[in-house]
């Protein structure tokens, strides 16, 4: 499991790096386009298409696993913090299982869709035609990685549910009290 952990860490780092590049390019591409339009009467071609179909998709889907790693997917703590240990673990198992189901389905179905777009060679017509099918694969990639990570989390949650001795509730209580990290 440690090895899988490291593998996911590595992939998640790579995905974040790509997303970071996409984010920086989004800012740069639009800025240069605006400057070009205003100063030189020469916009950068295909800005809208690249921003929409490549940078946005990378920025949204590639970081999914990294977000899950820091528990960053938004949820409501309301009754969770009031529950005893077993209750929390049951909810953990349920939440991880549902999240796994959701992202696994997204991965599977968006993959099928991406393959279909690849087969027709999906492109859009701007000033120039731009091939966009490759960006379709960013969705199953991002969802796949978070699904893999959720498998680990689910297994760990089940272990913690049945093995109270492995469960560190003190640290969790401190975190839930709002200390953060």
């Amino acid at each position: 499991m440690k090895a899988i952990d490291r593998m996911i860490d590595l992939l998640s780092f790579v995905f974040m790096a790509i997303a970071a590049i996409a984010l920086t390019l989004m800012m740069g591409h639009v800025t240069v386009d605006v400057a070009g339009k205003y100063l030189l009467n020469a916009p950068v071609p295909v800005t809208l298409e690249m921003v929409s179909n490549y940078y946005m998709v990378a920025v949204v889907f590639l970081p999914l696993a990294a977000v899950e790693k820091v528990n960053g997917h938004i949820h409501v703590e309301l009754i969770y913090s009031a529950l005893p240990r077993v209750g929390r673990r049951v909810l953990d198992v349920a939440a991880h299982a549902l999240a796994l189901g959701f992202f696994a389905m997204l991965m599977r179905y968006s993959w099928v869709s991406a393959v279909r777009k690849f087969e027709v060679g999906e492109f859009i017509m701007g000033t120039y035609p731009i091939i966009i099918w490759p960006s379709r694969f960013l969705v199953p990639l991002g969802c796949g990685l978070i699904a893999a990570f959720l498998v680990l989390r689910l297994v760990r949650a089940v272990i913690r549910l049945v093995r109270a001795d492995l469960d560190d509730t003190d640290a969790e209580n401190a975190a839930l009290a709002g200390g953060g990290h």
Binding site: N41, L48, V120, F123, M125, G126, T127, P129
Partner: protein, 350 residues
């Protein structure tokens, strides 16, 4: 009662809604045989998701603008590229519908490959120049930031020295208002529907062509197969009527807007002969381009034959529309049925 889900991505006041879908929905509801679910404005499926949504049966009938799907519908792009050659909206609509339905099996196959049944189109009225500064000559277009409605106009914009900028339709008003945009290429009706006349005070009515490569009533094929022959015939009649009505309403909206332009401080500029000549020269020079692009981008070898057939249909329907007139809706629909829909086989789309 059978369930039918109709999905539009244009709003309740759009000519396609008022002239195309509303009457059909009403007819279906009045018949008592149908349980209709009707969505507008993309509440169910937006412009791009309509293709997959129809294929997957999320909606049974919807409108598609083929410009969004160049990979799946290469031949529809060639039909669209005739935009600058059409004399009027009605002729463009008749041309595109007849071409797809009767003269281009590969076009219909493109639809069937997506599990969708094509039943005709409508056409926008000719695009014009809506601008902040008066455009009175071709030279006035040089250096102007313009929003173009499709790739065909990209070539035209480049030719006249315009700067093509990417502004989504939701930011067209803001763009013109603040100056990020000098010209929107739109039919005059857009001055009202997008409120452009509040900020852009010039409309040069140079005929910049129509957009007519849509699929107005596109049916999910499994839904189509589930219908008996009478129902399919009824839908085809609705399609003929919807195409004519939506197109006429589009033109009518333009006429209303042009009539009200003065009230809104908009100057309507008639294009100079020089502008018309320049446009005609562009169209002539562009036809070989359409054919070569069709081959390079889409791998269509017989594009010249397609263009020839389409030009023939333009002539045919120009004569018919001249004969009937542009206002006699029932006569136009009757002729449309006679010339096109009645010639379809009984198992059309199955």
């Amino acid at each position: 009662a059978d369930r039918i889900t109709a999905s539009l991505w244009v709003g309740p006041k759009h000519p396609v809604t008022v002239g195309g879908y509303d009457p059909m929905i009403k007819a279906l509801e009045d018949s008592g045989d149908w349980n209709v679910k009707y969505f507008q404005g993309g509440a169910l499926l937006g412009a791009k998701p309509t293709l997959s949504g129809l294929r997957d049966g999320i909606a049974d009938v919807g409108m598609m603008a083929m410009t969004y799907f160049p990979a799946e519908f290469p031949r529809a792009q060639v039909v669209a590229d005739m935009g600058l050659s059409t004399p009027s909206a009605l002729v463009a609509m008749f041309m595109a519908s007849e071409f797809n339905l009767l003269h281009c099996q590969p076009c219909l196959d493109e639809y069937l490959a997506q599990d969708i049944v094509y039943t005709g189109t409508y056409s926008t009225s000719p695009y014009t120049l809506i601008s902040k500064e008066p455009i009175r000559s071709t030279a006035d277009l040089a250096g102007k930031k313009m929003r173009v409605p499709g790739s065909l106009w990209s070539r035209w914009a480049a030719k006249v020295g315009g700067i093509e900028v990417n502004v989504p339709s939701s930011e067209m008003y803001e763009g013109l208002d603040k100056g990020a945009l000098d010209i929107a290429i739109q039919a005059p009706g857009a001055m009202r529907s997008y409120s452009l006349w509040d900020t852009a005070k010039y409309n040069t009515v140079l005929n910049l062509g129509t957009y007519h490569s849509l699929s107005l009533l596109s049916f999910n094929q499994r839904f189509w197969q589930d219908q008996d022959e009478a129902a399919r015939k009824m839908f085809l009649e609705q399609a003929a009527r919807a195409g004519v009505q939506a197109t006429m309403l589009y033109t009518q909206a333009d006429e209303e807007v042009l009539a009200a332009a003065a009230e809104h401080g908009v100057e309507i500029i008639q294009p100079s002969d020089e502008m018309k000549a320049d446009k005609a020269a562009f169209v002539e020079g562009d036809t070989p381009m359409i054919v070569s692009e069709a081959k390079d981008k889409y791998g269509i070898d017989d594009a010249q034959a397609m263009v020839d057939t389409l030009n023939g249909l333009i002539e045919k329907w120009t004569a018919i529309v001249d004969e009937i007139g542009e206002d006699d809706q029932d006569a136009l629909v009757a002729r449309f049925m006679e010339e096109v829909y009645n010639k379809l086989p009984a198992d059309y789309g199955l």
